[in-house]
């Protein structure tokens, strides 16, 4: 790879008595710019014609890719492995540098904002991996989710406990000791604590059993009924498209098909290539 960063050379980095790679972040630090008012219209959240990849000189992973979600909707991104689904989510959240394209939220161009500034703007994101603070209790996880809030958070916490009753039971337990499905509930709960205006989920059902998966889907629909638009990446394309108002099929970082969930499920091309006939 060209432009290798010498500071990230991993030689001699295995001695854990002097170095601690646990929990180190991958999100590049950058100085954010301001949000700019964008001409009105368009969906609530849209990543428009995004082109970009990891690092300053890494190859492009997304090519002219557009994903959007409107108020009251569930939008789902599906596609084969390595299609850039998660990358597209990260791009919308500002976790990688866009070379072209814009991200707009509620009539503002937020392309220049840092991820933490986007949280303050009302975006909630649940990453696919490492999406909870394992060494902290469930309650502390939720508290950290609400870190940017200055007001009383006990009401929101009650709502999250009502949505995921098992978390109320386990609230004093370290989140790392929970089962896979419960961890995902903590992760979604943490993101809900900011009272986000839009929620982004990266494969919320990865690695959980089918029964737990159904339950999680039910909860996601419940969240969406409260009026929060949801943008999510999903491996289980069929099930996800069934609950989706809008679906995007990505292939090699490009929009291959898009339409409502039902349209995509009915589309013979999509069925043949991605849904197993």
């Amino acid at each position: 790879m060209t432009g290798r960063n010498a500071y990230q050379d991993d030689r001699g980095n295995k001695d854990r008595s002097i170095t601690n790679p646990d929990g180190a972040g991958e999100t590049p630090l950058r100085d954010g710019g301001p949000a700019v008012a964008a001409p009105g219209g368009g969906p609530f959240l849209i990543g428009e014609a995004m082109t970009g990849g990891y690092g300053r000189s890494g190859p492009d992973i997304l090519h002219d890719c557009t994903i959007a979600v409107d108020r009251g909707e569930i939008a789902v991104i599906v596609g084969p492995n390595g299609a850039g689904k998660s990358t597209a989510m990260k791009a919308v959240f500002g976790m990688l540098d866009l070379r072209q394209g814009h991200v707009r939220l509620d009539g503002e161009d937020i392309s220049a904002l840092t991820p933490q500034a986007r949280v303050a703007k009302g975006m909630g994101f649940v990453p696919q991996n490492h999406n909870i603070f394992t060494s902290m209790t469930v309650e502390e996880n939720l508290e950290m989710g609400a870190f940017i809030r200055e007001d009383d958070i006990s009401g929101t916490m009650e709502q999250v406990y009502d949505l995921f009753p098992i978390l109320r039971e386990k609230r004093k337990q370290a989140a790392g000791e929970l089962s896979g499905g419960q961890r995902q509930q903590v992760a979604v709960g943490r993101a809900l604590m900011t009272e986000p205006k839009v929620l982004m989920l990266d494969e919320p059902t990865a690695g959980v059993s089918p029964i737990v998966m159904d339950e999680l889907f039910d909860r996601i629909i419940e969240v969406s009924r409260t009026g929060i638009p949801i943008l999510m990446v999903e491996q289980n394309a069929r099930q996800a498209l069934e609950i989706a108002d809008k679906g995007y099929v990505l292939v090699q970082g490009r929009n291959a098909y898009s339409g409502t969930g039902k349209e995509l499920l009915a589309d013979p091309e999509v069925r043949k290539s991605f849904l197993g006939g």
Binding site: N5, Y7, P21, L29, F147
Partner: protein, 336 residues
């Protein structure tokens, strides 16, 4: 057999000094373990950070003494301590800004930060010697003993005396207060919890709106406090010499690793394990054994397992044993 005298002799020469030394090591190890947990590297400049903070405190102590300011029975250094901590905070924030920040922005691997901290260590090393000189400095004043050996003997009628130096008392009390405050801060306050969150998962902390720059800044401020307090307590108890502080790195690292790197509780336990082993193994047991054993078994030699010159070997050996048999440390810190 004379158990009471044996115990008093043991307390006087082993237990009391080891508890004081252990507290000093624990405070130092807490600073190392915080940097390891939150900034993710072993800070080799920690010993010299302690030296710098202590030096600043000493200079201010001398100034106060010159002006006739005294704390009565307590050492004047306690009055100068907050100023020393402030000076150390300024220094650490400056090194972070001037040196470490660049590497954080590059997302440099921890091993690179380790090497960078060695560079910082050399610079601080020189700076401290340049300002205060390489020699021994004593700055303790106030009452010397809480209980002196002679008073103890008169009061109890025993042959052995128990002396508790006021610096030893101050060390233990200060350490308890500082550790309690630190644990309260990390577990109960919003900022403390955000630091634990950042240590646990940097990216997720970012997604929760936690400002990494602020976490890093608060970490350096706390480390400056811990390092200066540890350094001043050590200096009051013994004496201040830049080279000694540099050498303290080894027992401090050993404490942090023995306890479990990244675990504050482990750092404290590790500090005492190292301190007690060092003192136990380098103490001449002739006197205590003389009280304990029947007359004909009384040892003729000193029964000193290792000369005090080799006390660093003790930390090394314990470090090796822990790394071989329980690499995560006593308190299951991050796996080594």
């Amino acid at each position: 057999m004379d158990l009471l005298n044996a115990f008093v002799a043991l307390s006087n020469f082993v237990l009391v000094p080891a508890i004081a030394y252990g507290s000093q090591l624990a405070l130092g190890a807490l600073g190392v373990t915080m940097i390891y947990g939150i900034l993710r590297f072993s800070n080799f400049a920690h010993g010299d950070t302690m030296a710098f903070g202590t030096m600043a405190t000493i200079l201010i102590t001398w100034w106060f003494q010159g002006m006739g300011l005294h704390l009565g029975v307590l050492p004047t250094a306690l009055l100068a301590l907050p100023f020393g901590i402030a000076a150390c905070m300024v220094l650490l924030l400056f090194t972070d800004r001037a040196v470490y920040r660049f590497y954080r922005a590059q997302k440099a691997k921890p091993v690179i930060l380790v090497i960078v901290s060695i560079g910082v260590m050399f610079v601080l090393n020189g700076l401290v010697r340049f300002i205060i000189g390489p020699g021994d400095q004593r700055f303790a004043d106030g009452a010397r003993f809480i209980i002196s050996a002679r008073d103890f003997k008169e009061a109890t009628g025993l042959d052995e005396g128990l002396a508790i130096k006021s610096t030893q008392g101050i060390t233990v009390i200060t350490a308890v207060i500082v550790v309690a405050a630190l644990f309260w801060f990390l577990n109960r306050t919003r900022t403390g919890k955000s630091m634990r969150a950042y240590s646990d998962n940097e990216d997720l902390a970012l997604l929760s709106g936690i400002n990494p720059d602020r976490v890093v800044m608060v970490t350096w401020l706390i480390v400056a406090g811990l390092a200066t307090i540890a350094g001043v307590l050590y200096g009051l108890d013994k004496s201040f010499k830049p080279f000694t502080y540099f050498q303290l790195l080894l027992p401090i690292f050993a404490s942090a690793i023995v306890g479990g790197l990244g675990s504050p509780l482990g750092a404290i336990a590790g500090g005492f394990v190292i301190a007690f082993s060092e003192v136990f193994i380098t103490y001449a047991w002739k006197k205590v054994l003389g009280y304990l054993l029947p007359e004909n078994l009384e040892p003729s030699g000193l029964v000193q397992l290792l000369s005090t010159d080799y006390k660093f070997a003790v930390s090394f050996v314990i470090l090796l044993i822990v790394l071989l048999f329980r690499p995560t440390g006593l308190f299951r810190g991050k796996a080594v």
